[in-house]
Point group: C2
Chain length 189, copies 2
């Protein structure tokens, strides 16, 4: 039972959010002013403040939505036993997701010097990766701590992805074949 019965609230919140989304495609977050949002959404500035404390609250909502979207996408990864296959499938899902919203990713990335989207990708993926590595290495004596291994390959993959988003130099299949070579058969050192 949602408490938001009043259609006026739903309508203007949607309006504010959609306007913010489209502004994020054109400007860096810090450049976006509350008054810009209000002018574009054609609402009074006081109306904005009735719904959000400030623009940072709006950004948090935006980031959470993007995380949820990607999260759902990655959940499609059937739990393959083989470690390498699992990672390659996850990367494929990640690339699919990015490709499906390429305009959003490239624009937001260009405007905000990578950081916002990097964080999103990193945070969403790391949960699954750490879980998988831990499962693979149960009861094994590892030379390198699990968190180091995961951060190593996470950094590697995310860095390639961000490059891919902005440059579009290689095809998705190319990239996957490179990962096939770069990722070792057993991530359990």
């Amino acid at each position: 039972m949602s408490e938001k019965l009043d259609l006026r609230i739903v309508k203007t919140k949607k309006n504010i959010y959609a306007t913010f989304e489209s502004l994020m495609m054109k400007h860096a977050f810090e450049e976006i002013k509350v008054s810009d949002i209000c002018n574009m959404a054609m609402i009074n500035r006081s109306t904005f403040y009735a719904h959000y404390d400030d623009k940072y609250e709006l950004l948090a909502e935006y980031i959470n939505n993007m995380k949820d979207l990607l999260s759902k996408e990655l959940d499609k990864n059937s739990n393959i036993n083989n470690s390498k296959e699992y990672y390659l499938e996850m990367i494929r899902l990640l690339l699919d997701h990015i490709e499906g919203r390429r305009d959003v990713f490239s624009q937001v990335m260009i405007n905000n010097r990578n950081s916002i989207l990097m964080d999103i990708l990193y945070e969403v993926i790391s949960k699954d990766v750490i879980k998988q590595i831990k499962e693979q290495n149960e009861n094994k004596i590892t030379k390198v701590p699990v968190d180091i291994v995961s951060k190593f390959y996470l950094g590697a993959v995310i860095n390639i992805c961000t490059e891919w988003i902005s440059s579009n130099k290689y095809s998705k299949e190319d990239l996957l074949s490179y990962f096939e070579v770069l990722i070792p058969d057993n991530i359990d050192v």
Copy 2:
């Protein structure tokens, strides 16, 4: 022959820069106001604008200085023929550099969500790495493009370093032994 003969200019510029540096240890760059710098440096705000167009010019100077410092440090890397040895030595120099200014690195990183220092590390190292990989792979047919390989390992190493800076969980020698395992004998795929 520097044209800055007037000691007053040298003095106040140094004052402004030093104040900025110490503020960067306590606050995110975007939070730092020109008036904060001036109050702390005990100069008039108009004096600031006589030397800098805005705070972004000051940040650029700061970043360039950090890049130069690290750049000089990495130049000590004697040109070892073996690829892996070369990278491990570079990583050792990088970790030395970070360890020697741990307070700066950790504070600036915490305040600015990694991005500024990440960029510095990344940019300075990438030149050397790409050069080395290209040298190693002259006249070879590579399965994976050089820029992909370099971005893969660069992302990996930088990600571990940023984690190390903020957490301080492992010793420098530990980290080097992990890299010894994680970096393959030949980065020439």
